[in-house]
């Protein structure tokens, strides 16, 4: 065993020297593997980035969450809904779902209000979100300073507001906004809280559009109903945010909520139920298809690279027939000759793998810089790419190495 290890170390040294002796040839031989591995690495980086983006976005929506959004109907569908008597998504739906959920989860209605937000005549780019006191719990998005809207704020339709971090910075800079007054629509509101800052990326791989919640301004939903009455229906809302206590029950609760709301809407599909956890699963299965396609492309380039290596190694074996004969004559067993050429091939392909990984990193970085795509490379993927390059060496080195090992010593010595 020890003897074998010693021989293999020696084989590695001989192999390295042979690679050094034929620098250009070795470099050209590696090229196929270099590009194959670079392709694998950069594609994995892109795939990894896309996945991370999707996961982040969906996490933002919460894996325990279900969102019911109002769908604006038009034309015939609108007329049909009218006829059937559906009034769109309303607080009534929220109450119904809340009642049936019981202790399984909580619910918060959301209404987006179109109104300018001003501080001493300066307008902030923000979005007024009217909701209930449970919203912070339901979305797991909390106040960092002050407090979120309270039950009392909602019940009394108080004119209070909680600012998203970006809006607060726009309006107040680094001063505390607490207790200050801002103007929403025509009225003054007292700022009672400042939300935590959440990282929101407006990415490329958008599975679902996520608004920048740092630009939200929360006001009590009953305040909005009173101050910004809707022309048709006082109870209309844009969204229902539902949080299920147990993530495993999300997929049970979602269809129940859907059925309840549909019944209440007399069968009109003027709403949409979005389950982030399901989107995540969907995104992952799309990703899998993408990975299979990319994996096949990478496999083909590695195959081509491997064939190139095999070709060169066959030439090398022929060139070194005499050396093989000499080594056999002085007592090298077949296994040692096999190992020698196999190790040499693996050295070439593994070196190609390393260069390919470096090139792949560079390509991923370039894509990130120039195309703005998020890229993420896991150490595991990198190690895997390296392992595959070494494996290519073993697979495609085996035949030339066997050929070397099977040579008849006398014939090899006589070879001109």
């Amino acid at each position: 065993m020890r003897q074998g290890a010693l021989q293999h170390l020696e084989s590695a040294r001989v192999g390295l020297r042979s690679i050094q002796a034929h620098k250009l040839r070795s470099a050209l031989t590696m090229l196929g593997v270099v590009f194959g591995v670079a392709a694998v690495v950069s594609m994995l980086a892109i795939a990894g980035g896309a996945r991370r983006e999707a996961v982040e976005q969906i996490r933002l929506l919460g894996t325990n969450n279900i969102r019911v959004t109002h769908l604006a109907l038009s034309g015939k569908a609108y007329a049909a809904a009218e006829q059937k008597g559906s009034r769109g998504l309303t607080t009534g739906d929220a109450d119904l779902v809340a009642a049936s959920l019981g202790h399984l989860g909580r619910i918060a209605p959301v209404r987006f209000v179109e109104a300018p937000v001003l501080l001493r005549g300066r307008e902030a780019a923000g979005r007024v979100v009217a909701t209930s006191a449970d919203y912070d719990e339901v979305t797991d998005f909390r106040a960092a300073q002050g407090r979120f809207l309270s039950e009392l704020d909602v019940a009394d339709a108080k004119r209070v507001a909680v600012l998203g971090a970006s809006v607060a910075r726009d309006l107040f800079g680094f001063q505390s906004p607490l207790g200050r007054r801002i103007r929403i629509g025509g009225d003054e509101y007292t700022v009672v809280g400042l939300m935590e800052s959440k990282r929101v990326r407006e990415g490329r791989a958008t599975v679902i559009r996520v608004r920048d919640i740092n630009r939200d301004i929360y006001v009590p939903i009953r305040t909005a109903s009173a101050r910004f009455p809707l022309p048709r229906d006082a109870g209309a809302i844009d969204e229902l945010a539902i949080r299920v206590a147990d993530a495993d029950q999300v997929s049970t609760v979602a269809p129940i909520a859907t059925r309840l709301i549909r019944e209440r809407h007399h069968g009109v599909d003027d709403f949409e139920v979005v389950v982030p956890a399901e989107l995540l699963a969907q995104a992952q299965s799309t990703q899998r298809v993408f990975n299979v396609v990319m994996g096949s492309i990478a496999a083909i380039s590695l195959l081509v690279g491997g064939i190139g290596i095999m070709n060169v190694m066959l030439t090398t074996v022929t060139e070194r027939t005499r050396e093989i004969g000499i080594r056999r004559a002085v007592g090298a067993p077949r296994g040692a000759i096999l190992a020698q050429f196999l190790i040499e091939t693996v050295l070439i392909s593994a070196a190609g793998g390393l260069v390919g990984i470096a090139l792949g990193f560079a390509m991923a970085r370039g894509i990130n810089l120039f195309a703005g795509w998020e890229t993420a490379l896991s150490p595991l993927a990198t190690a895997g790419a390296f392992g595959v390059s070494a494996l290519v060496g073993i697979v495609f080195g085996l035949y030339p190495a066997r050929r070397a090992a099977q040579m008849d010593p006398i014939g090899a010595l006589r070879f001109e």
Partner: protein, 242 residues
């Protein structure tokens, strides 16, 4: 006591294209421990094949072979490799050094396969190179050496594992007379130390210095000469050569 090498009715035929060439056609031979044997004969008479079979580098088509009493004709390839590595040294007409390796590394090659560690390998290689007079050429490449020096390296390589048998196939064939004599001297020195030496040669003068001469002809041993017969038949050979 066993003969070091014993061959009995050894045949060896090759397939050359579609024709079968019989290189050996029933050769029986023994080489004793410490013996100095010369093999002579014209090209194609089977001398080299005989050497290869005696040295476990080749197997007979039929017949039996023993090395130190052990039958070797059916040993597995790895066993034969081990025997070549540990007990037999080869010296060839065209040296057969590995051009990419330095002198010292060339000599170390058999030790690598013997599983000797690097430090010890270097020491042993230097010692044998010192002995063949190349102690100052360790780092040179074979192409930087003269023919005589190359053959010394090859002899050092044959010796480095301490073999009982050294087989030299026309070791002076590519060398001028003076260098050839030096190489013959080295081989005779080995014999003096108790190593069995078998030399294939064309040169009757060199053959005559051996304990025993085997003359081959057309795949058979034509005659064996020992003691005082050597001088007589050597002359006859020389006459035949002319």
């Amino acid at each position: 006591m066993h003969a070091l090498v014993r061959l009995e009715e050894v045949h060896r035929s090759y397939l050359m294209g579609s024709a079968t060439v019989e290189a050996l056609r029933g050769v029986s031979l023994r080489v004793d421990r410490g013996e100095y044997l010369a093999v002579i004969g014209p090209s194609g008479s089977g001398k080299s094949t005989l050497m290869h079979i005696a040295g476990c580098l080749d197997r007979p088509t039929s017949g039996r072979c023993w090395l130190d009493g052990t039958p070797v004709e059916n040993l597995p390839d790895d066993e034969l490799s081990r025997l070549r590595n540990g007990r037999i040294g080869f010296v060839f007409q065209s040296f057969f050094l590995i051009p990419q390796l330095s002198v010292q590394e060339n000599v170390e090659v058999p030790l690598v396969y013997a599983g000797v560690e690097r430090g010890e390998r270097a020491g042993r290689a230097r010692a044998v190179l010192e002995r063949v007079g190349l102690g100052r050429r360790l780092e040179h490449r074979p192409n930087e050496l003269s023919g005589g020096e190359c053959q010394r390296v090859a002899i050092a390589r044959a010796l480095v594992t301490g073999p009982e048998l050294v087989l030299a196939d026309e070791p002076t064939g590519n060398l001028d007379r003076r260098t050839g004599d030096e190489i013959t001297g080295l081989l005779e020195g080995l014999h003096a130390e108790g190593v069995s030496v078998v030399v294939v040669t064309h040169d009757p003068a060199k053959a005559r210095r051996a304990d025993r001469i085997v003359q081959m002809e057309d795949g058979l041993i034509e005659r064996e000469l020992r003691g005082s017969e050597r001088a007589r038949l050597g002359d006859a050979l020389e006459a035949a050569a002319r």
